[in-house]
Amino acid sequence: MADPLLDVEDLWVRFPSRHGTFDAVRGVSFTLGRERLGIVGESGSGKSMTGRAILRLIRPPGQVEAKHVLLDGENLLEKSERDMRAVRGQRISMVMQDPKFSLNPVMTIGAQIIEAYRLHSKASKSAAYTKAIEMLEAVSIRDPERVMRAYPHEMSGGMGQRIMIAMMLIPNPEILIADEPTSALDVSVQRQVLDIMDKLVKERGMGLIFISHDLNLVADFCDRVLIMYSGRIVEVCDADKLQEAKHPYTRGLLNSLPHLDAPRERLDVLKREDEWALAPSVSGRI
């Protein structure tokens, strides 16, 4: 394989507090090529913190440490805050798990998309408007003109998610980190949004980190999957082999899914083992 787009080695995210330090991410290593890399794992396992740490978006007192986080060979951890701002949004975009929270509540959707677009290109206002409408249509927003005039709180959950995705894709990033980007979308709209991301990976060679709870979706959509538990990677597998995963934790996650065709009175829940958290992190590097 050619040089990876992103190379993360021994990443830690720590939150010091009066009661000692809490390690949200504990020594995670992986590479990202021009591929769709899924990250799954239970709530609180460190998926979002891993994504945010790459962009150095961990709020103090949280701390990020790593041997390195290389973007095309440059260590992001050594960059000044000013240089990082140029990386964020331009070279690496992130769709946050909390879409409406990341939008400005007192600015119309249109003004925000246009502003984001013109930050990265010299386009005129009217060209930016046309582009914005085009992007909203691409993510299956039905009445883009109305949405351009609307405020974030006037959007449904799934519309907020799609607006964020449209905004993040406009600058044409090398890497997109998408944190639960489709968790509120019905299957047909979800398909359309995934197709857009897929096209960017295949046609433009974008690298995609796809964080999700939805195991079936990740198995179906991604190339590789990292499975996280307690701040570590416990298993790495090809996405189409996820159903055959070996780790009891991954098996437990798979078994807790409800199935339409096999109704059950109660769903299986995970029985966590201490040793899962103790085993060293598995490397997701290629």
Binding site: F15, V40, G41, E42, S43, G44, S45, S48, R59, Q97, D98, K100, F101, S140, R142, R146, R149, A150, E154, S156, G157, G158, M159, G160, R162, E180, S183, A184, L185, D186, V187, S188, V189, Q190, R191, H213, D214, L215, G252, L253, L254, S256, L257, P258, H259, L260, D261, P263, R264, R266, L267, D268, V269, L270
Partner: protein
């Protein structure tokens, strides 16, 4: 169940926002009813008006017409406090629904106090255990919680007043599958023990299949079809859109 007054009756509900060219008819003459102890699902396209129906019931969508009844009583325009003792909602967006400066302890404690409970300390403890969070989270603030942990706090808050009717808007879409299983089991237990009634929005048909007796399929502000869970399992839908939805989610 037949003969008893339904827990929730929605008749010819219209809900709209805005004026002129920005007017959105978010819900158009929706009608359905939910029996006491039943669990009823709302599924459909993103933006089709599912959350708006729940918001209209709790009084968060001011412009509506039609008839809304809880346990046979028309819902008053201005919801009294006693309404929220009977009816609680879990919001779709766990980030926006918790106050950023209130600790978990305060959110739950204040809700309990507001509804006149005593023995607050024990009740807060039990609520946290019920939603699988445990005491370690009691004094945390929302920004110190992951997405799924916040959603569990939101569920604990909704359970605090011991409501009869729970409106659940994508209650598990922010949760991983194992916590989802815990929450769905918990919701099932609560329904069995306390005879709760659920109106539940979800885009995940296997979750709806697991939890609900019946469901309404929405598209573009309208309920296009009401299905039983057997219809769902055997993919027995008549309307083109519901067929499409069922086919797409195998």
């Amino acid at each position: 169940m037949s003969g008893a007054t339904p827990m929730l009756e929605v008749e010819n509900l219209d809900v709209w926002f805005g004026l002129g060219r920005d007017r959105v008819d978010a819900v158009k003459s929706a009608s359905f009813s939910v029996e006491q102890g039943e669990s009823f699902g709302l599924v459909g396209e993103s933006g089709s008006g599912k959350s708006t129906i729940l918001r209209a019931i709790t009084g968060l969508a001011p412009d509506w017409s039609g008839s809304l009844k809880v346990a046979g009583e028309p819902i008053p325009r201005k919801r009294p406090k006693s309404f929220f003792k009977k009816v609680q909602m879990v919001f779709q967006d766990p980030y926006a629904s918790l106050h950023p400066r209130q600790s978990v302890d305060r959110v739950l404690g204040e809700t309990l106090r507001l509804h006149g409970f005593s023995n607050i300390d024990n009740r807060v403890k039990r609520l946290l255990d019920d939603v699988g969070l445990g005491q370690a989270f009691r004094f945390r603030y929302p920004h110190q919680l992951s997405g799924g942990q916040r959603q569990r706090v939101a569920i604990a808050r909704a359970l605090a007043p011991e409501p009869k009717l729970l409106l659940l808007d994508e209650p598990t879409s922010a949760l991983d599958v194992s916590v989802q299983a815990e929450i769905l089991n918990l919701l099932a237990d609560l329904r069995a023990e306390h005879g709760l009634t659920y109106l539940m929005v979800s885009h995940d048909l296997s979750v709806v299949g697991h939890m609900c007796n019946r469901l309404a399929v929405m598209k573009d502000g309208e309920i296009v079809e009401i299905l039983s869970v057997e219809d769902l399992r055997t993919r027995n839908a008549r309307h083109e859109y519901s067929r499409h939805l069922l086919d797409a989610s195998l």
